[in-house]
């Protein structure tokens, strides 16, 4: 059972930040590596070895699926990252993405798959894939995703407001695109896939509307994710759900109970030892040191990192919950602060 790898990591007191980007930038030519699957695979391997992880985690790049989708729609190049639909995607666009002929992936995306293949075929590490979640991808396809979701939360539909139609069709495109990415990662040998759904949070989904009974969380987040989860289930792969957004207790409970991932990774705004009571006992919790502030010695001195890591480990141990101490999100390389970030990750692991 792939999920047992994470439980074993938890039982062994695993302390593993998602910090592939830092290791990548220790190489002389990081940009070239991003399009070279084998070399990228070696970076994942080096990251796993550095933190004593039996699993090789990938580098978080949440642009890959958006670029793939837009490339297939003929919108490419630098424009892709900032592109937003100005009108609802057409039926023809939906059909092209949903049912279109197999298309080659862009080089960086292909390298991501090839790095997983390298881990699966050349090393003895447990290969982990990663994708942006469908809801989060949809939020990147429209300029203002909050308004249509909020209007839908008031019971309006696509016929009432064009922005809702635009969002819902974007979500449909997103789901098909994520499915394609997951299939490629499973084909490459991934035995678990991290779904990053940072937009599934209280900024995009009004807790006021959810409390009043709105179904937007279910319709826009849970159902698309559950449909995609089937791909993992069919392949016998484990599901690792990452959501570092601002969440309410209810949201954490619903994510844990309804999606029931093997691992649930939450952001630093959550108190994991309190959240442990909200999610099923067999879900491994991952996180959630505030690594986004590690660049600053004033905001986050190294002593504070050690203190936070020690406290979190102690509290989770007292609960006897499966837990892996980690970062709140991907730890990015910041040129002027790389040394201090590394020092804090060392403190986190050693505390």
């Amino acid at each position: 059972m792939p999920a047992s790898v994470f439980r074993r990591m938890a039982a062994e007191g695993g302390r593993i930040p998602l910090a592939v980007d830092l290791v990548l930038h220790e190489q002389p030519d990081p940009e070239a590596i991003l399009t070279d699957g084998e070399r990228l695979g070696r970076v994942l391997e080096a990251h796993a070895l550095r933190y004593g992880s039996p699993a090789a985690f990938p580098r978080m790049d949440l642009r890959l699926e958006k670029r793939d989708l837009l490339h297939r729609l003929g919108i490419g190049g630098e424009e892709a990252d900032t592109y937003h639909f100005l009108a609802p995607p057409t039926e023809e666009q939906l059909a092209r993405v949903r049912d279109g002929a197999p298309a080659a992936f862009l080089p960086a995306h292909q390298a991501h798959f090839d790095s997983i293949r390298y881990i699966a075929e050349v090393t003895s590490l447990f290969p982990v894939g990663m994708t942006i979640g469908p809801f989060s991808l949809a939020t990147k396809l429209v300029a203002d995703p909050i308004t249509p979701v909020a209007l839908a939360g008031r019971g309006l539909g696509p016929d009432d407001d064009e922005s809702i139609r635009m969002f819902e069709r974007s979500l449909e495109l997103a789901e098909a695109t994520v499915a394609r990415s997951i299939r490629a990662q499973l084909d490459a040998g991934a035995r678990a896939v991290i779904f990053c759904e940072p937009s599934a949070n209280a900024v995009y989904l009004s807790p006021r509307q959810l409390t009043a009974g709105s179904d937007i969380l279910n319709r826009y987040v849970l159902q698309p994710n559950l449909r995609l989860r089937r791909l993992l289930d069919e392949a016998g792969a484990a599901w690792f759900l990452h959501d570092c957004g601002e969440l309410t207790d209810d949201m954490v409970r619903i994510l844990g109970e309804t999606l029931h991932p093997a691992v649930l990774s939450l952001g630093a705004s959550r108190c994991l030892w309190q959240d442990a009571a909200l999610v099923p006992a067999d879900v491994v919790l991952y996180g959630n040191l505030p690594t986004k502030t590690f660049y600053s010695d004033a905001a986050m001195p190294v002593e504070r990192v050690a203190e936070l890591a020690g406290q979190l480990a102690k509290e989770m141990k007292a609960l006897d919950r499966p837990f892996i101490l980690g970062s709140e999100c991907d730890v990015l390389y910041v040129p002027e602060a790389a040394a201090t970030i590394r020092r804090k990750l060392e403190a986190m692991v050693a505390a």
Binding site: T82, I146, G153, A202
Partner: protein, 216 residues
């Protein structure tokens, strides 16, 4: 006769259609646009801000209210211009170079517009020279810089330096915000303020514009 309390409620409840309809009706009856703004719309947005601060409202409610306010303001703007009414302030806003995240920035821009500011939104991944150009062109008195990534935060410093080098720093207030940004970082890079959320950012911008106009 237009029931102007409905305008207050429409903005408070984020009901764009009603806000626009009541405003149209009021204007057809020769209502004073400044009175509509000052007696009904601004108090409604102030109440929205209060409800946000006490977590009764969340970002989606803020945004819907700002949208209703903006919808009504668009009808009033030509009349305000005729009367020579000045905006609350002139803001240039953008996500700094290298950073593609724009949701937080969009939210601040919407609330600023709802607060009566004239907003020039430069979008995401904006190089320092574009901020400089826009400040000059729009005669802005506030610049809002957003970043979501630790790796792009240094571009905030670079942008502030570019404003200095262009001789503009003394005439604009610089506000920064975004998930990894801290008050300490804002101070270090020489920003005038740090908005921990969109509502705080708008209040800060308003206070800064007020303070600088008194200073003159």
């Amino acid at each position: 006769m237009a029931d102007l309390q409905k305008l207050y409620e429409a903005v408070l409840n984020g009901d764009n259609k009603t806000a626009v309809a009541v405003t149209k009706e009021a204007l057809a009856e020769n209502a004073d646009p400044i009175e509509l703004i000052q007696k009904y719309m601004i108090p409604a947005m102030a109440e929205v801000g209060k409800r946000f601060e006490c977590e009764e409202y969340f970002v989606p409610e803020l945004l819907l209210s700002a949208r209703a306010m903006k919808g009504a303001l668009e009808l009033l703007r030509p009349l305000l211009a005729e009367k020579g009414a000045e905006p609350t302030g002139r803001v240039v806003i953008g996500t700094v170079k290298g950073d593609l995240h724009d949701i937080g920035k969009n939210l601040v821009a919407s609330l600023l517009e709802g607060g009566g500011f004239e907003v020039t939104d430069l979008g995401a991944d904006v190089p320092p020279e574009k901020f400089v150009e826009a400040v000059q062109l729009r005669n802005a008195n506030v610049v809002c810089l957003s970043a979501l990534l630790t790796v792009t935060m240094p571009a905030m410093r670079t942008t502030i330096e570019a404003l200095k080098n262009a001789g503009l720093r003394d005439r604009v207030k610089v506000l920064v915000g975004g998930a990894p940004v801290t008050p300490q970082f804002a101070k270090e890079i020489g920003a005038d303020g740090y908005g921990e959320n969109a509502s705080v950012a708008v209040n800060l911008a308003r206070d800064m514009v007020k303070a600088s106009s008194h200073a003159c």
